[in-house]
């Protein structure tokens, strides 16, 4: 059997909160990611969805070692990324890239777009003609070659995001973490960027971790989907099983909350209305973290934490009373 490109096992990431109010200093811990495991094959896309505070962005940053993980292992091409030396990590970083949400903040306003795209090549000491490489990257993402001489302020949001993608592609990565890459774009522009991700994957065969809160975009682009709630994966599996036969009540509620852009179906379908907001991750509920908003919750859900279990429709979900 082929080994997966990326394997995340029992990933935990804690953040310390220092509250300096009052006389005594108190230290509190937020577990942003709590025991998360998944794998990603070559050429595949894993969508990670969840609401704010679910830990989806933190997972992405941990994969790239942009954050030190608290415990667990992340293996890339079979190599454990924990324990690597600075130099070894630098070599591996060539193969893992990230595209951020905000195309305005992620480009240096004082650098030409061409030098921004060439920067990873310079940092990694790649020999050869950078100008040519930049030109081919610009073409690859649907921009013109002479755009290299311009500055970020001369571009629209969608174009800047294409520049960010060109920069991520500069080192021919095997994995790109896309952290809400189209959320800041208008829908008519978003469609073009989503198509670009699909085309690039077909041509270059890299894998994506696609982090988003927009479930319809994830449905379009992902092969597999992980649904996160308060730092945990509550359901993970093939796109088809997750969207067509959700087994976790949270997945069901989340899918039902997304309004469908068709007034006739939107007004006739039944909806699950969740009560309240996502609880604070500083103090998550005992047992199942979703139980405070779940209409099926019983005492069992408060006392024992459900584990991820394989369901008849193929996906894994963590619920005592699956659908």
């Amino acid at each position: 059997m082929n080994q997966p490109l990326l394997q995340v096992e029992n990933l935990v990431k804690n953040f310390e909160l220092r509250a300096n109010s009052g006389i005594r200093k108190t230290k509190r811990i937020v577990q942003a990611v709590s025991d998360v495991s998944f794998s990603l094959d070559k050429g595949q896309t894993l969508g990670i969805v969840g609401e704010s505070g679910s830990g989806k962005t933190t997972v992405g940053r941990c994969i790239l070692q942009l954050l030190d993980i608290t415990s667990g292992t992340i293996s890339f091409e079979g190599k454990n990324l924990g324990g690597l030396s600075f130099e070894e990590m630098r070599q591996i970083r060539r193969k893992m890239q990230i595209v951020f949400q905000d195309p305005f903040a992620s480009l240096d306003p004082k650098m030409t777009v061409g030098s921004s795209i060439a920067e990873p090549l310079v940092v990694q000491g790649v020999a050869g003609n950078h100008e040519e490489k930049v030109a081919s990257l610009l073409e690859l993402v649907g921009l013109a070659v002479d755009h290299a001489k311009r500055f970020p302020h001369e571009f629209s949001g969608g174009q800047r995001q294409r520049v960010g993608i060109a920069r991520a592609l500069a080192l021919d990565p095997a994995l790109i973490v896309l952290d809400e890459p189209v959320s800041a774009l208008d829908v008519s522009i978003q469609a073009g960027v989503v198509n670009l991700f699909g085309d690039l994957q077909k041509r270059l065969g890299m894998s994506y971790v696609f982090i988003a809160h927009d479930l319809s975009v994830v449905r379009h682009i992902a092969d597999r989907v992980a649904v996160m709630y308060l730092g945990k994966i509550v359901e993970i599996g093939d796109k088809k099983s997750i969207y067509e036969h959700p087994t976790h009540p949270y997945t069901k509620a989340l899918l039902s909350a997304v309004p469908v852009p068709n007034p006739t179906t939107e007004r006739s379908r039944s909806r699950i209305m969740l009560e309240g907001d996502v609880p604070s991750p500083v103090n998550p509920p005992s047992g199942c973290r979703f139980r405070t908003r779940c209409w099926k919750a019983t005492e069992l859900c408060a006392s024992s934490e459900p584990q991820l279990v394989v369901r008849p429709t193929g996906q894994l979900s963590a619920c005592h009373f699956p659908e």
Binding site: D186, V187, A191, L254, A257, P261, P263, E266, L274, E275
Partner: protein, 328 residues
Amino acid sequence: MMSELVLSIRDLRVTFDTPLGPLEAVRGVDLDVRAGEMVGVVGESGSGKSVTFLAAMGLLPHQAKVSGSVMINGQEMLGASNKVLRNMRGGLMSMIFQDPLSALNPVHRIGDQIVEMLKAHQPKMSDKDAAKRAVELLDIVGIPQAAERAHQYPHEFSGGMRQRVVIAIAIANNPKVLIADEPTTALDVTVQAQILEVIERVQKSFGTAVVLITHDLGVIARVADRVNVMYAGRNVEKGGVEALFDHPSHPYTRGLLASLPHEGIERLTPITGFPPNMLMPPPGCGFAPRCSHASDACLVSLPPLQTFGDLETACIRAEELVVKAGLS
């Protein structure tokens, strides 16, 4: 019988002076809102949807040049005195925004902020009655234990609860019109569903007309009765929500709907290009540079809204295109 007209905007134009020259953000918008209806205003960033209503509320900085007419409950608001505007804002018409935290004062209790709004418009109301009414309002917008929560500060509320508080303040004086500018954009989808329900409840139970400004076509499909599609500072299409989603006539509306991901399609269909620079808007149809159907005539003058079946469409080729689409 049509219900009474509570907000009527005619030929509204807004120009900002910028160092690079005049920027025409709104270029002749007409819009009617009747009592008790929910009107959706949809458009992408820079389409002028927010500026239209900031102008109607008299909330733009005085450097902005505003012309046209804004009638609220039969009274002209453009050029009205500060006193008239003060009575209108929060009295006849209220507005809520995307970010509920910046709309609330962090150092005052929630209850007091509602009382402040009540007494600004009903100075004769006693403190006791106002406090009681504040708790009632919090209850209406679905805040549990309203009496206790009224004594808390904004930071003690979650994002969704804060937006409920803002709605309570906005409806405190039973306004005729509530303008909601992207009220759920900063919220998670499960919380968005709750807030839309609160807004609908206010609309249905008090007969408040609601203008919902959003970029989310799904939200429009869920709650709006009528829809106005804006592009480059103009109304490009308007009509009933079912008609507009079922058979949009303007190429922009069609492009917008086609660019959304939906089941069973391999590739999305983006609209090519990007919106015009409003410092130098094209002389003709604002959408023409991105429109695959544009002809020479489209580039000459601004197309007016014309009745077209059950929609109003600002496209000189709408009829022709629909015939063509029907044949193919």
